[in-house]
């Protein structure tokens, strides 16, 4: 495993599409780094550049300080879990898992291959499917085999492109925990792409938020959540989403020259304080309730602990935890 560093990586497609713009970040050896961003932000392109599948136009890629910018994919020794097209359809599951180990570069003896494949298959609970053709699997099983094909090796870095996206919620959750455990046990370096914030916050040591091919912010999940440096980043984490309101709306309680304010739903306390709003919708999630308020002509989401006994049209008092309010200027960037 290695420390992987990107320095000012720029990738331009067809001379006009700037998919990556001066991307710089470092994935420390043994860390779980999550790239978070909406569709088209350049997540896949970043992984492909690291794996050597895309030639970059500017910048450098370093593995343990060694420059691999121009190295061939095989020489970089990375493992890639693709967003799609994951398995070789003409091979059995066993041979799919063994494929990387049988590479002429590695020449692993068949006995060792066998023990590794068996171990990984057990870990991913696909032992009973080893003799299936790759086409005779469910989507979730295919995805686990694809992850397994990466895990049989000990590469410089694991590159995973939304590996859990085709699984159902329950399996996704259990595999998420599983993957994090595997990473901790192996001390693996993982660069993981997702646009699912729950995956990002539960697994990441570090999160890099991508916006239109640029890095918007890098930090631990807590930093990104509590201290986003733009509205764009603030919107990426948190469910329900952060409320962004004009400063005039709350001028009675907060005096600021910031153009707009960010209020996390859990920082709006219902049933206390002296502001008053009307309830628009109530959405019970079990342990918590999402309540939509209308205040001063705008809607705000709040997260209420426990079950909420109120309904549409009720008037309710609320308070705002002022120390947690985020301030942004007109361009959506954070101000202090």
């Amino acid at each position: 495993m290695a420390t992987v560093e990107l320095q000012g990586v720029t990738k331009i497609f067809d001379k006009t599409v700037k998919a990556l713009d001066q991307i710089s970040f470092t994935v420390q050896n043994g860390k779980f780094f999550v790239l978070l961003g909406p569709t088209g932000a350049g997540k896949t392109t970043t992984l492909r550049a690291i794996a050597g599948l895309e030639k970059i136009d500017h910048g450098k890629i370093l593995f343990d300080e060694e420059d691999v910018t121009t190295a061939q994919p095989a020489a970089r020794d990375t493992a890639f879990v693709f967003q799609q097209y994951s398995l070789y359809p003409h091979y059995k599951v066993y041979d799919n898992l063994a494929f990387p180990l049988r590479s002429p570069l590695r020449k692993v003896p068949e006995q060792e291959i066998n023990s590794k494949v068996t171990k990984i298959a057990e870990m991913l609970k696909i032992s009973s499917k080893l003799n299936n053709k790759a086409t005779e699997l469910s989507g979730g099983e295919m995805q686990r085999v694809a992850i397994g094909r990466a895990l049989v090796r000990e590469p410089n870095i694991y590159l995973m492109d939304e590996p859990l996206s085709s699984l159902d919620a329950k399996l996704r959750e259990s595999l998420r925990v599983e993957l994090k455990n595997i990473q901790l046990n192996l001390g693996a370096t993982i660069l993981y792409v997702t646009h699912d914030q729950a995956e990002a916050t539960t697994m990441a040591d570090q999160i890099g938020v991508l916006e239109n091919g640029k890095i918007a912010q890098i930090g631990s999940p807590e930093e990104i959540y509590n201290n986003p440096n733009s509205i764009y980043v603030a919107n990426r984490l948190g469910s329900p989403k952060i409320n962004i309101v004009k400063n005039s709306v709350l001028s009675s309680i907060i005096s600021t020259n910031a153009y707009q304010l960010g209020l996390r739903p859990e920082h709006i306390k219902l049933g206390q304080g002296d502001l008053s709003a009307s309830v628009k919708t109530v959405e019970a999630l079990g342990a918590e309730t999402v309540v939509e308020l209308e205040y001063n002509g705008i809607e705000m989401l709040c997260l209420y602990q426990g079950s909420f006994d109120g309904q549409r049209g009720d008037n309710i008092k609320f308070a705002i935890d002022q120390s947690k309010v985020l301030f942004f200027n007109e361009d959506g960037n954070k101000i202090l």
């Binding site: 794996a51 050597g52 599948l53 061939q72 994919p73 095989a74 970089r76 020794d77 990375t78 493992a79 890639f80 693709f82 967003q83 799609q84 097209y85 994951s86 398995l87 070789y88 359809p89 003409h90 494929f99 990387p100 590479s103 002429p104 570069l105 590695r106 790759a134 086409t135 699997l137 989507g139 295919m142 995805q143 094909r149 090796r153 085709s166």
Partner: protein, 314 residues
């Protein structure tokens, strides 16, 4: 029973209609072939009798004549010979002839096999490499090159027979196996490139990319991952190339005589006494049909299996 059919399957009526059309078509195409096979089992006399005999006493005379050279001998000489040792000697003897040696058929037949399979292999192999390059790499003037490759088939190959004849004589390629393999490969290659490029385009590049990341070179990834998935296309292309090289007549007549002559120009020239030996020609044609038939049946499995969708996540 019909109630269990899925809405995607054709109804009983359209199935029956399809079957009827296929059977009619089959009968029409099979009549000449059946006649040839039947002729190969007739005796020389019954093959040319009029009206034609539909029912006849089968004989292996055609096959014996196909494989042997014979000469007619006076009765006294035949009587002086020791009795025939094999069934075919006996058959020839009963026609008042003796076997003077094997015919050229086996040689011509093996020429056909060597040239047919050689040219097919080469066309498919080179075609697959070229198709892969056209499918995956930024080749300068790609579209123009592809059109140029196709344009080589816009006239019948025989139109350039004279320049090829002269060229082959100068190069010493006339009447050689190599010369015929090269010629048939050249003719087939454009078809192979076009057909295979279509199939290669269908294979997502992620497969090779995965293999290259897994520690294989591009060439190794091509053989391990791309070619197996292009099997359908390769099988189809191979069948087309094989049928062309196997059946080609005009160039074979023009360019080969002794050393590399293939079966097509040889079979119709099998002369018996007082004209063409139709049962022998029938026998030669029947045997000639067999390899392409086997080849097609063997590869058919790949054709029918189709492209493997399903191991992909979209």
């Amino acid at each position: 029973m019909d109630t269990s059919r899925s809405p995607l399957e054709p109804s009983g009526f359209s199935r029956k209609l399809a079957a009827t059309i296929i059977i009619v078509y089959m009968v029409v195409t099979l009549i000449p072939i059946t006649w040839i096979v039947a002729t190969s089992f007739k005796s020389v006399d019954s093959a040319i009798s009029y009206p034609p005999e539909v029912f006849f006493e089968p004989s292996l005379e055609g096959y014996v004549n196909l494989f042997t050279n014979r000469s007619r001998q006076p009765k006294e000489y035949l009587d002086s010979l020791p009795p025939p040792e094999t069934w075919y000697e006996e058959l020839v003897r009963s026609r008042e002839m003796v076997i003077t040696g094997p015919s050229k058929f086996i040689g011509r037949y093996s020429n056909s096999l060597i040239i047919g399979f050689g040219a097919t292999f080469l066309s498919v192999f080179l075609g697959a490499l070229a198709a892969y390059a056209f499918s995956r790499f930024k080749v300068p003037l790609k579209d123009d090159l592809m059109f140029f490759i196709l344009s080589t088939r816009m006239f019948p190959p025989i139109a350039v027979a004279v320049p090829i004849f002269i060229m082959y004589r100068k190069l010493g390629l006339g009447d050689t196996h190599l010369g015929m393999i090269i010629l048939y490969t050249v003719v087939n290659l454009s078809l192979a490139v076009w057909l295979l490029k279509g199939f290669m385009d269908e294979i997502p590049k992620e497969y090779e990319e995965a293999a290259m990341i897994d520690g294989y070179s591009r060439m190794q990834a091509f053989f391990k991952v791309v070619l197996p998935q292009a099997m359908t296309g390769i099988a189809a292309t191979a069948i087309f190339c094989m049928i062309f090289s196997w059946n080609e007549y005009a160039f074979a007549v023009l360019l080969t005589q002794f050393n590399a002559q293939t079966a097509p120009p040889f079979i119709p020239t099998i002369i018996g006494e007082g004209g063409l030996d139709w049962p022998a020609i029938g026998a030669g044609t029947t045997l000639f049909l067999i390899p392409v038939m086997i080849f097609t049946v063997v590869l058919r499995k790949h054709l029918l299996r189709g492209i493997t969708f399903g191991a992909v996540r979209k």
